[in-house]
Symmetry: C2
Subunit: 343 residues, 2 copies
């Protein structure tokens, strides 16, 4: 039995879509228990609209809500009875294996570190969303809020990302690359140049070198390593360019003559399908890796399907023992570092 | 009369499209003289295919070509008779006002600094391509090869970019923004946090604050300031996401049933038009600003139209006295800095 705490109050479509997502998840699998965290009366009212196995969903009251615009550090400190703080405490106290929220990214990132806490040896927990590519999906690690990373952080990101892609997504030997402005080893800023040889020396990842941003949408690598500032730019530009192009395509078809208008109707289903597969917000469940437990940030605009998927994702994470694998990997790393000066 | 040296040997479509572009430019304006730099026999043969006013095009022989994959610093040093080195020397010796090349980006960036040289006071010359947005175009400054910038560099980029957009593109009070991972002033990495107050204090630019990457394609700012690593990632991801989406849309239409296939034919013209307007490679003429003269890097895949546009762009640059305006602006900046400690 895996227990997932879910923030019933977070995101644009809370609480209705969140509750519906939780109901869908327990409908799919009998080995999940969902702890819905939120305002008691509100969540109760939503739950009353659904039928589900009562033993699989439990309501955990939390009287406060952290808003997106609140400064995260303050919010986490002050709103002790908010759905995010209460949910994360459930993970900390081992009453839940994971916490899923579509709420304030900042609060989730801060809470993950401050409340749930890092696995011993993890220097910085990265936020790692999946982004769509021509070939499927890639893991973009890190898109968190901790900027100005050090080379050792990026090496840990590469290791953790590799474990995630191999064991949660079932990808054999995921190709790991570092974001750079050229393919050659001597290119890059100081951080990339320092990190490159360290990644090359890692024996437990399949490092393929640098990746230029142009190659990311083509699926040039499975684990895309970058410090959080650049990662954030990539993630948000993905969304922005996609949304703008789709908008422009629609406009141009509608503003053209009758033949194009008829054509637009005929291509609509095919178009919708391919555009949807390239919508970064569709792959909403971004894990915050390296914590004592699992925290998953789903996109603010998540609907029931994405919430349900994020909950199920937690099951795979737990079943595959990702955190144990991360601990092992970091243990090996430490042993290697210790052996080096003695050699 | 404005004299533009053009690298006849650079880019994927050299020499035919380059020569055709030069012929088109002199056909459009009688006040331009083009110096076509390249292998004598090759360029002569191409020129023979066209008719043009002979006094407007002159061939300047250069026996060598710098290839894209050559390490730029070495190439500039060794290939003294390459089209890039010869063309840049024409600018240095004031025999040409500008140099246009679709060749090796690295060699153009190095040559611009080493051969043409910086305007006194310019700390670092930025490469500033125009990128398409929903509303038109924005200037992305810097996408060059010099990474790990300092705050003072970014402030100069903002000033130079603002002058360029106002006087070359005729935009009143261009909105200047710095690329950041959130809209709030306290967000960002060390570089952005240090640069933000400096930009805020600039009285000669219209600084609107931070811009998230998501807002760039929507046209959220006219001058988008960033250090070169992030600028490069933005530029290349723009190309990559656009190309991938277009590819996927085409595929999905063709793989669908007959109605979609018919529809695809009907929407094709409208689709083509809107996709073309969003193709970053279409706006190929990126100026390398802050040099004693003008160097314009056009996209490697440039055809005659883009080459012609880049040449005409040099005329506006010269006519509007952009370099004089940059000198004035930096002079004011220096005066301000000097006054501060005395105050």
């Amino acid at each position: 039995m895996i227990t997932v705490a879910v923030d019933a109050m977070g995101g644009d479509n809370a609480p209705s879509e969140i509750v519906a997502g939780a109901v869908a998840a327990v409908g799919k699998r009998q080995d999940i228990k969902v702890l819905l965290v939120g305002k008691e009366d509100v969540v109760k009212k939503e739950l009353a609209k659904h039928t589900y196995r009562a033993e699989q969903i439990e309501l955990v009251p939390a009287s406060e809500v952290i808003e997106t615009e609140e400064p995260p550090v303050n919010a986490i400190r002050r709103k002790k009875d908010s759905s995010i703080v209460v949910g994360m405490n459930l993970v900390k106290q081992k009453k839940a294996d994971a916490f899923v929220s579509a709420g304030s990214s900042g609060a989730i990132l801060v809470g993950g570190q401050v409340i749930v806490g890092r696995i011993k040896g993890v220097e910085r927990p990265p936020l790692a969303p999946l982004i769509p590519t021509e070939k499927g999906v890639s893991l973009l690690i890190d898109c968190g809020a901790n900027v100005d990373a050090r080379p050792s952080h990026l090496v840990q990101f590469a290791r953790m990302g590799s474990i995630y892609m191999e064991h949660v997504l079932g990808m054999k030997q995921p190709r790991v690359a570092i974001v750079n402005i050229g393919a050659e080893e001597e290119k890059g800023n100081a951080l990339v140049k320092e990190t490159f040889p360290l990644l090359k020396a890692c024996t437990d990842i399949h490092f393929i070198g640098s990746i230029e941003a142009r190659e990311i949408p083509h699926g040039g690598a499975d684990v895309i390593v970058s410090e959080a500032f650049v990662g954030n730019v990539i993630l948000k530009l993905y969304e922005g360019v996609g949304a703008t192009l789709i908008h422009m395509i629609k406009e141009s078809m509608l503003q053209s003559g009758l033949p194009a208008k008829i054509g637009a109707l005929l291509v609509k289903p095919a178009l919708k399908k391919s555009l949807k597969s390239f919508d970064a917000t569709e792959y909403g469940g971004a894990p915050l890796l390296g914590l004592n437990g699992l925290v998953v940030k789903t996109h603010g605009s998540s609907k029931a399907t994405e919430v349900c998927n994020s909950i199920i994702q937690c099951v795979t994470f737990k079943e595959q023992g990702i955190n144990e694998k991360i601990k092992e990997s970091l243990g090996r790393q430490e042993a290697q570092t210790k052996n080096q000066p003695e050699a």
